[in-house]
Symmetry: C2
Amino acid sequence: MPAAVLDFWFDFASTYSYPAAMRIGALAADAGVTVRFRPFLLGPIFKAQGWTTSPFNLYAAKGRHMWRDLERLCADLGLPFRRPDPFPQNSLLAARVALAALEQALGDDFPGEDFCRAVFRAEFAEGRRIDDPATIADILVRSSIEPHAALAAAQSDASKARLRTQTDAAQRLGVFGAPSFTAADGELFWGNDRLEAALRWVKRVAHSE
Amino acid sequence: MPAAVLDFWFDFASTYSYPAAMRIGALAADAGVTVRFRPFLLGPIFKAQGWTTSPFNLYAAKGRHMWRDLERLCADLGLPFRRPDPFPQNSLLAARVALAALEQALGDDFPGEDFCRAVFRAEFAEGRRIDDPATIADILVRSSIEPHAALAAAQSDASKARLRTQTDAAQRLGVFGAPSFTAADGELFWGNDRLEAALRWVKRVAHSE
């Protein structure tokens, strides 16, 4: 039987990516599904749709509902929540470091997924700015990663190119928002609310192969 | 203990209002919640957000995902599904007749909620056009309602004003999409995915009063 694999596409600035990132580990383990964390940037994709900022800022009523909905959702999940200020945060630095961490470029023993969850926690639970290198450095230091080299590497041309490639890949798969989940057969699921359905999908496909 | 009441806001053209309308009766009965069906028009609300048609038409990738997602959702729920053509349908006539039916203006024995479900079924399961008076007349005739008087009444100034008032009320409550659910305390829930949370909310509020 082939492995059931789900790609988890997220932007650190995306509000509903926070509960998705916090939920996906346990749910995937229960379902026997391997998850690949795939940070990307929503900015270029929103731009292609004619948006210069988050639709939650562009459409006031939609934004008001989202903040209240996220607050209710986090309360139900027992997740701490603080509204980031400013919103959206610039997620470029965090995404570049996350990509390096996920590719084990920061060390074999440094789990990139833990780094991702720590960034979401800093932003949505602790009210910290993730565009501040000090925030990212703190997260690295707590995992015994030397921050200066990691932050310098994140600014390299190779690192920038990797994130662009990742964002292009998301767009080619039809990703238009975050979080999104994709299966190897191209099936796309959008939103934290679809995490369970996406896990069921890849399990079903793997079983039928 | 006060009654737990949930207002169910929908537009007949709205795709996710279809599964919500089909699910809400049984779920509300199980939860002991009284539901008020409140058809309104999304058009003026979208217009106020700068959209001249459905966002699913304006944003192609979002639209592609929605159709596939709705198809998966209906399959999971055992609901027949056919993609309406054209989309969105003009829901003006259906909404006016529905309002009259829900206010028992078409007869005390004609359940307005059944009429609403029949409209959704015609549109999303049978591929019929709901802007065609013949479709609406068929639904009325099957319930032994004389269609000519009902359709004429739907075109009256009073009927038009009622629908405008209803749409204004939705907008004042912060409704920006459909389906939406509102509680007496002003709490707003958007989307078919939030139906269960909305029912839990009004139950909890009623119990704590």
